[in-house]
């Protein structure tokens, strides 16, 4: 037991030491430098600058500095990613760091509605450029808005506003379920990239994918089941109230 704890403590120390090598200050300075250089170039990027020689010359004068700053930033990002990959391989994919990161990714996809699709495929090059981010509620709300818009033209003359609203609510629940399932698929896709960045073996990686994928599926189906039953109760109550009013 003490041997195991010593090993764990050494592992943590090695992880912390490796992570301490990340050039945080240099990275921040490089980010600021790139922003400043970009602003400096944008000052002379006026309308149709390519076809106006005096402005084109000015842009071309300022561009090399921006390119140099971007190259410096790219180098530092690559350096940081390499250090992080090294640190991750020290603790492994079954460590609490990996599990916590997977959970954060899952919650961010469910709660904030942001799914980092194909995370690792892009994060090895640039972590600050995440591809498409969708919102579950955004998906559901947008879909419901379009449904509401088009159903206005399909509304029958004898249909009451109550039944129309109920139909809309049912559609919203359906869209929310659809949005959650869509986010689950996106999470599973991002999980493959996530596992790749931690560099486990084939067996360990496959097992982690099975565990995390099935766990996420179980959690999402649980949320859908709970949500659907809650909304069904609300609908029944609303229907009863509307029937009483009419």
């Amino acid at each position: 037991m003490s041997l195991f704890l010593c090993g764990v403590s050494a592992m943590q120390r090695q992880f912390d030491d490796t992570m301490a090598k990340v050039p945080v200050r240099e990275l921040r300075a490089a980010y600021i430098a790139v922003e400043q250089e970009r602003e400096y170039v944008d000052e002379v990027r006026v309308w149709f600058w390519r076809w106006r020689p005096q402005w084109r010359v000015r842009v071309e004068e300022r561009l090399p500095a921006l390119e140099a700053a971007e190259a410096r930033l790219a180098d530092l990002v690559a350096q940081r990613d390499a250090i992080m990959a090294e640190a991750r391989q020290v603790v492994g994919i079954w460590s609490e760091y990996a599990v916590e990161e997977a959970r954060e990714s899952f919650w961010s996809s469910v709660e904030a509605g942001k799914v980092r699709v194909l995370l690792s495929m892009t994060c090895s090059r640039s972590r600050h450029h995440f591809p498409t981010c969708h919102s579950i509620q955004g998906v559901a709300k947008r879909a419901t808005f379009y449904d509401a818009f088009f159903s206005m033209f399909q509304m029958r003359r004898d249909e009451s506003i109550g039944s129309f609203l109920l139909g809309l609510l049912v559609k919203f629940v359906f869209n929310l379920t659809f949005g959650l399932l869509l986010m689950l698929v996106a999470f599973l896709v991002s999980l493959v990239g996530f596992i790749y960045t931690w560099g486990p073996g084939v067996l360990s990686g496959t097992l982690f994918f099975l565990v995390a994928g099935l766990g996420a599926t179980a959690a999402v189906t649980g949320i859908i089941a709970l949500g659907t039953s809650w909304w069904s109760l609300r609908l029944v109550t609303l229907d009863t109230q509307l029937t009483r009013v009419t």
Binding site: V8, S9, V91, R103, A212, G215, A219, G222
Partner: protein
């Protein structure tokens, strides 16, 4: 309550599957990781998540 017990008795396999499914979801969300790196963290059920999966598969 009686209805619930009757339902469990009528569908024992489905009930156990549902219980394990919920356990799997909870363990994915809250159980400690199998390898605890941070010092001073006591994880008595750190293999909970993989074990639940194995039971579910079996």
């Amino acid at each position: 309550m009686t209805k619930f017990v009757k339902a469990v008795q009528a569908y024992p396999r489905l009930s156990s599957f549902l219980v394990l499914w919920v356990l799997l979801a909870l363990s994915f969300l809250y159980a400690p990781a199998p390898v605890v790196v941070t010092e001073g963290v006591y994880a008595p059920c750190k293999l909970f998540m993989p074990c639940t999966l194995c039971v579910l598969v079996l």
